[in-house]
Subunit: 338 residues, 2 copies
Amino acid sequence: MADTKKRSLDSDNGTESGPEKKLATGDGDGKDAKQPVADPGSEAGSMLAGFQTEKIMRESSREKNIFIHGKMGSGPNEGQDAVLILEKTPFREDSLAELFKTSELKHQMRNDIYSTYHMHPPAHLNDIKATVVCPATEKHIKKYQSQELFLIQESGEDYRNITLPYIQEQSFSVQWVYNILEKKAEADRIVFEDPDPQNGFVLLPDFKWDQKQLDDLYLIAICHQREIKSLRDLTQEHLPLLQNIQQQGQEAIMKRYSVPSCRLRVYLHYQPSYYHLHVHFTVLGYEAPGCGVERAHLLSDVIQNLQTDTQHYRTRTLTYPLRADDALLHKLREAGRF
Amino acid sequence: MADTKKRSLDSDNGTESGPEKKLATGDGDGKDAKQPVADPGSEAGSMLAGFQTEKIMRESSREKNIFIHGKMGSGPNEGQDAVLILEKTPFREDSLAELFKTSELKHQMRNDIYSTYHMHPPAHLNDIKATVVCPATEKHIKKYQSQELFLIQESGEDYRNITLPYIQEQSFSVQWVYNILEKKAEADRIVFEDPDPQNGFVLLPDFKWDQKQLDDLYLIAICHQREIKSLRDLTQEHLPLLQNIQQQGQEAIMKRYSVPSCRLRVYLHYQPSYYHLHVHFTVLGYEAPGCGVERAHLLSDVIQNLQTDTQHYRTRTLTYPLRADDALLHKLREAGRF
């Protein structure tokens, strides 16, 4: 259990639809890819015709995809375990005219100038991208499985009685954070540093950001102070630190990437992924995983809350999501708090 | 400009790819909704057959939707400007077996255990949700055009001096809201109602949700009181209303959809899409547009904030995103506040 809280490399959004929203391609258990790419367009006939669904592992209504565990019904892999991923394809501008001309249209509702319809295009204008992972091992199957999420209402007392002892028991390692702060790792990735031990911090790109374009800009500020586990530890004495991170973090991003502060969403997570205070900087318009209201706290709000009441984060009931398999959820349940 | 703030039908997430990704329904420039809801499923024939595309205003590969400005080719609105919004629908579990059996499959590539295919289901298994706004004015068209976003820090004073006068000047129509509250429109869509004029509300599915699956569940509670424009108007006297919406809204959703409160994200928007108090209920795990920390305020936090300080939302600096073409942004800029 010691490593359930970790640095997030991929979509660490705590949402059901995609803690690991990725499709691995090409890492078939470490074997090399031996088969050549087949002729595109060759008929695969009814290869999926007898596919037996065992379980829907994940689906996203927003992204129009679905992850299914099942068994192949025919072909060379008949009866073998498979993960089947279906995703509807984006609209193509070059086929819109044909789409309008050839689709069936059913009226659904009308209210003033607004009407809705069901539209049914012919088969050849409907493309679904299907990906098959077969044979799929237990590991593959587990990887695509989504976990249900539950919203927790944690009072200040719950924190002291349940969450804090849990964090202390687990003694999650943040050695990788210390490695960064001490320049033992990733020194070349640092975008900005204020070395002050009290109010200083290191700013570096988050691993989710490949730095190839600005529209998913994502940086993390990690403070030098080592005693602040999370939002729950913050009081007015930390205001200079927080204001410094906000101010200098924004300036450094403007200087390096020419993205002004009015284009930046600056926030903390609660629960965080790791218990050493850090602040997220993402660009507005990028729906970064974890920027949802149920987990993110704007730094500007945190500062205002502390200015009003130094005990704010010690006393408030805080809301956050936990996955069904999170050990903290079990602790809260044991304590009758969920 | 009088109707740039409107009911949201589609992704209303305040992001650049869709700052006001919403489709107003029901507020036809202040006119009453006179048309009755048509028989669901009645044939609309080839109403879109001659649709002439003028411009793709926005599209999302992630969400598989497209916003098109064009002219109606036939029907009563022939030649009139329209906004056409197409969105592919999520996969339906109950039709998967038929999908496997009846789809055409074309092999695309194979690499070790990973294979990809193009899948072409028959027309009746392909549903596209089409929404038509017609006749569409210049304003409607502008509204769907994607725009850059800016983060605003609005103090209580800014609200009183700039934002409030702006809202009052514009006198945005919420006639479509009154149509719902008075049962003149959409009465058949109401999931729950508490008719109390002070603390009562109407709960109905948001237009973004097609109600075919629970993983993008999205409902809206609209209060009967007509004097509350937004979060900024709330004081302790509204606590009974807010607690009632939270309590009864959650219970009604549990009763109708069997989704418990620990699976629900309950929040308000600031700025809202329309200035009549309403509360969003979305299911956890669904990254609903507009649930980002820069625009959403958890109802449970709103209640706590008011319990602590009745003046909270009158005095606090609130952060929110505005599109580059938003008239309010220009007002704030004129006043030197941005």
